[in-house]
């Protein structure tokens, strides 16, 4: 089908079409709520269609805007001056890390809009905010300029606050402000890190080739030779972060470098969104109070932004700090998995249970990213780490499907019986067979049953951890059992059993066609990704492995020599003090990892 060749037009269209539609809705009459809902749905559908067109494999030539498979680089990037006073660019681009999440966003937005049809309160405002939210989310995944990223990141906040605060449940105000507060703290930390990196960066340190690769006009550098030229370009910042004598290695505070602080601040900012224990407390409240479609978006898309940010910003820009703090990331990931699973088991509220399961599942994402291993035995190899990162990436997509599905399933039943008390359910299978079948499918996908989407991500992450830390591997494997326990128990309490005895039993009618149309694609994707994970991995692996390869190269070029020098120094000191047998310092460095960058993508499958 026809797609203009200009990435500026297409990518901007994808991001700003919802916002433009929101502006248009402002002028529609207030009473025509069905018209407004249908129009909004059409817009979300159109956005999904465009992203789908980009996704269809085949066109690998440079002319077409199709997503080129097997290419780990940024594609369809374009950069336009935005605020030259601060070197800020309107810089968009997609790659295998962002693009699957973009499709996920547009897909879930479409389904969530379809799920919004029962909403009758202030429909106009709801649709406007919803569409603005979609613009914010898509923008976050597209932006490659740190400032632009930050702007979109914040743009999401306001619509979300109102969507929870106005259309939410009984404790909506509390939940909305809590969500706002936590996220704002996170973004303020990000803002400080942003300034930190911006003022430490200097484009003069990059070669013309690197500048071209980062979509920076090299004439910028020649024009002003004196003084540093700061940048917000995420690719350029990553190049600088991975240099020897990186400008981010300067000391900032308390003996820690700029990178270390930036990494910590950014990580905390993103972990709020993921969310990781102990900064997760906003999530159960926000999820429980938010209306069903918004819960779907929250769980399906917003949580992924944290993971995306870590993968896109934290790791490439601050590798030294990431290496130093890998234990912290992994520890938080494992803690979230265990805590989320136990907390889910203790819930009486159906939606709260699903919310805690999200925390547990997102723990896999954090753990998989944190597993920093570039050796296998005595060989340099990023196989394990690659498993972990790809698993984390897959888990993000898979969780997007399964958690959105679970929240939708909870919403369907809540609409009928107006309660979510797990103890008052039971016997739904008899009254709503199609619904129960679908719901059980989705819940099994979340459980990680082989053949469904949850399995692949979990197994990849669990395998990868083994090399990093056996203890964490055992923990993460045992969480699978906990997950099975709470999900099976839930299924038993809600769907099985003789008959439904709770309130409003008379209104338990079958699923409407609209509801089936929302649930079915989610279930279908859960199955598809489970039996043919390459549907996701083919898109993600090249980019994930490129990020990984860059860091492995950095490790070999920068970090290992440094570690070696440190080790020699300590050994020398020991030699002087204890006079032990002199160790063989002339042992050759570990074998070359230059092949890592071109590592086959097979490893992750």
């Amino acid at each position: 089908m026809f797609l203009p060749n200009n990435p500026l037009v297409v990518l901007s269209l994808v991001v700003f079409l919802p916002a433009a539609a929101a502006l248009l809705i402002c002028f529609l009459p207030k009473g025509s709520s069905n018209l407004i809902k249908t129009f909004s749905f059409c817009v979300t559908f159109a956005v999904f269609l465009v992203t789908l067109l980009i996704a269809i494999p085949g066109g690998s030539d440079a002319e077409s805007l199709r997503f080129a498979m097997g290419n780990g680089e940024i594609q369809h990037a374009f950069s336009v001056d935005w605020i030259p006073s601060f070197n800020i660019y309107y810089f968009f681009g997609i790659d295998g890390i962002s693009f699957p999440l973009i499709i996920l966003t547009s897909f879930l937005c479409m389904l969530a809009m379809a799920a919004s049809f029962p909403i009758e309160k202030h429909v106009k405002a709801y649709c406007i905010l919803f569409l603005l939210l979609e613009t914010g989310m898509l923008g976050v995944f597209m932006a490659l300029d740190f400032f632009l990223f930050y702007v979109f990141w914040e743009v999401m906040l306001l619509p979300m606050y109102f969507l929870i605060g106005v259309w939410g449940g009984p404790r909506k105000e509390y939940a909305a402000i809590k969500f706002f507060l936590f996220t704002l703290v996170g973004s303020v930390l990000m803002l400080v890190a942003l300034l930190m990196l911006y003022f430490a960066s200097d484009l003069n340190t990059l070669s013309p080739q690197q500048l071209t690769a980062c979509k920076i006009d090299s004439s910028v550098v020649q024009q002003t030779p004196e003084g540093p030229i700061h940048t917000f370009n995420l690719l350029a910042l990553a190049e600088m972060g991975q240099m020897e004598n990186s400008p981010f290695d300067q000391d900032l505070l308390w003996g820690k470098s700029i990178q270390w602080w930036a990494f910590l601040l950014l990580l905390l900012g993103f972990l709020v969104k993921v969310p990781a224990v102990p900064i997760h407390t906003w999530l159960p409240d926000a999820h429980v109070e938010a209306p069903t479609p918004i819960s779907m978006i929250l769980a399906g898309v917003l949580l992924k932004m944290g993971g995306y940010g870590i993968l896109r910003i934290c790791y490439p820009i601050c590798p030294a700090a990431a290496y130093e703090l890998a234990w912290f990331v992994c520890g938080l990931g494992a803690l979230s998995m265990v805590y989320g699973a136990f907390a889910a088991m203790a819930q009486k509220d159906f939606k709260r249970l699903v919310a805690y399961s999200s925390i547990s599942h997102m723990g896999y994402v954090v753990l998989g990213m944190g597993v920093w291993t570039i050796t296998a035995g005595n060989l340099m190899s990023t196989d394990y780490w690659s498993l972990g990162m790809n698993g984390a990436m897959f888990q993000m997509v898979a969780h997007g499907i399964s958690s959105a599905g679970m929240f939708f399933m909870v919403g369907v039943i809540y609409e009928r019986v107006h309660h979510r008390d797990l103890d008052k359910f039971g016997g739904l299978f008899a009254k709503m067979p199609i619904y129960s079948g679908m719901a059980m499918g989705i819940f099994f996908a979340a459980l990680g049953l082989p053949g469904l989407c949850g399995f692949i991500g979990e197994v990849l992450v669990t395998l990868s951890v083994w090399k990093y830390s056996a203890v964490l591997a055992v923990i993460s494997a045992s969480v699978v059992i906990l997950t099975a326990a709470y999900i099976l128990w839930t299924i038993q309490r809600v769907y099985l059993g003789p008959e439904y005895k709770g309130p409003h039993g008379e209104s338990l009618h079958r699923m409407t066609p609209r509801e089936i149309a929302i649930g079915a694609p989610l279930l279908a994707l859960a199955v598809l990704f489970g039996v043919w994970p390459r549907a996701v991995l083919d898109y993600t692996t090249p980019s994930v492995n490129k990020t990984l390869g860059d860091m492995a190269v950095w490790m070999e070029r920068v970090e290992l020599p440094r570690l070696k020098i440190e080790r020699e120094e300590t050994l020398h000191e020991e030699e002087i003090t204890d006079n032990p047998i002199a160790p063989d310092l002339t042992k050759p460095a570990p074998s070359s990892v230059s092949s890592l960058t071109s590592r086959e993508t097979e490893s992750a499958r």
Partner: protein
Amino acid sequence: MSFQELLKNTFSDTFQVSLGAFAPELVLCGLVIVLLLAKMFLPRWRSGPFWLTVAGSLSALWLLKPWESLGVAIAEKATPLFTGLLVGDSFSIYFRTLLIGFIVLFAIMTRLTRALDRDNDVELFTLIVGATVGMCLMVSANHMLIVFLAVEMVSVPSYILAGMVRGQRFGSEAAIKYAVYGAATAGIMLYGISLLVGTLGTAHLPTMGKMLAELLQNEPMADRYLVLVLSGLMILVGLAFKLSVFPFHSWAPDVFEGATAEVAAFLSIASKAAALGLLIRLVIGLGYVADPAGLAALEPVRWFMTGSIGTLAAMSCTFGNLTAYGQNNLKRLFAYSTIAHAGYMLMPVAAISALIGTNLVDARTAASATAFYVSIYLLMNLVAFATIAFVRDQVGNESVGALKGLVQTSPGLAVLFSVTLFSFIGLPPLAGFAAKFAAFASVWNAGLIWLVVIGALNTVLSLFYYLRVAKVMTIENAPEAFEKRIQIPICWSVRGWFILALTLPIILWGIWWNGLFIWTQAATSLLF
């Protein structure tokens, strides 16, 4: 130089250079006289004062020609006026444009509200225009004498404005509090000025900088340090009072509550902007000299200014934001909000003083960040106080509760006011964020990490009370027994247009603020 030559020089300086650059102020002075005469000769022309004020201010703006010095990249070179009492440069043109432009907006706002009956119009406009002349002098001051005179020229009309509505207890109380407090700080400031001038032997700001540098170069351990520090602090007290910065803020909530919302808008925007302009002048005058040796010698002065202004900024932000929590009166709430924002605005000033010794380009960026913040703050605060005034006119109530369920009766106003509130918090893509970003960036660049951290944390603190107002408007339902509902349709009323016209730039400058920032850069490019 003979007496005759002196006379001739003065004559040519005054008539050929100074008066031309001073024309906008002269027009404003003329406007004051015309306003008073119009009251006498045309007492029946009710809307006369309004039209006269608008026409006078617009012609003053036209004489100022901001498009000539700001529109193009070449900024106006600094020229001493009236033998160095004032300085004419693009910085002063920028601030005077803001101040005189604000009179126009203010006049339109008072025309749309009903707090001050039409009979008071003349007094109101006379005082406002007169105070603005003082403010214009503040931002172009180049001499300590003018500094003090200008501050007093602004203060005295402000005291009267605070008690403008006759027969109202709160108004009179506010006026007397303001006057007593103001007189005390003015006295302290004057004492500080006299100490400083006495120590340095001159009152001309650039010369003071030179003398200070010489003093520090020649006598590294001078016994006059104590006097210098003391005088610096005393001058800061006077300016901090004008800026309503903690701990010299305590007049602000009472005065804002007692005065009408319109006057509060004037006090919170115009006098703050002018005081900030003056502070930048003083910081540059005392912390910068062109010759490198002198510049290096002034390091302790800059260190002192950075430290004291930065500390004031940090305290003011934190105090303002924390105290605003408990407020139920909208004007009081916004009084604390202005205290907090005065803190944010002081942050880049501390950055100027920290950077001016080492990196002039970055110091200029810091100065433009201040000017940028002021311009955006003008819009935001004007929307806030205009909304308060409009709501008060309709329901006679200025509490936060008066806004309950506003979204149901006037959705447009509720949305635009919410947008402004979020801009106050500093959320992108609104202009308030751009302002905060530019300010924080300069502060970080100056190496004041602690100040950035405090500013950033304050952004979180400020979330609660702004959001509370937004929540009351949008999430809470209007009470059933609410007789009077606020009806201000955005599309079909002049008030709506007024709010819309002020809010649109907040949104548009939030999305694309490069243009405005370039103007502020032009304004500060030849500041030092």
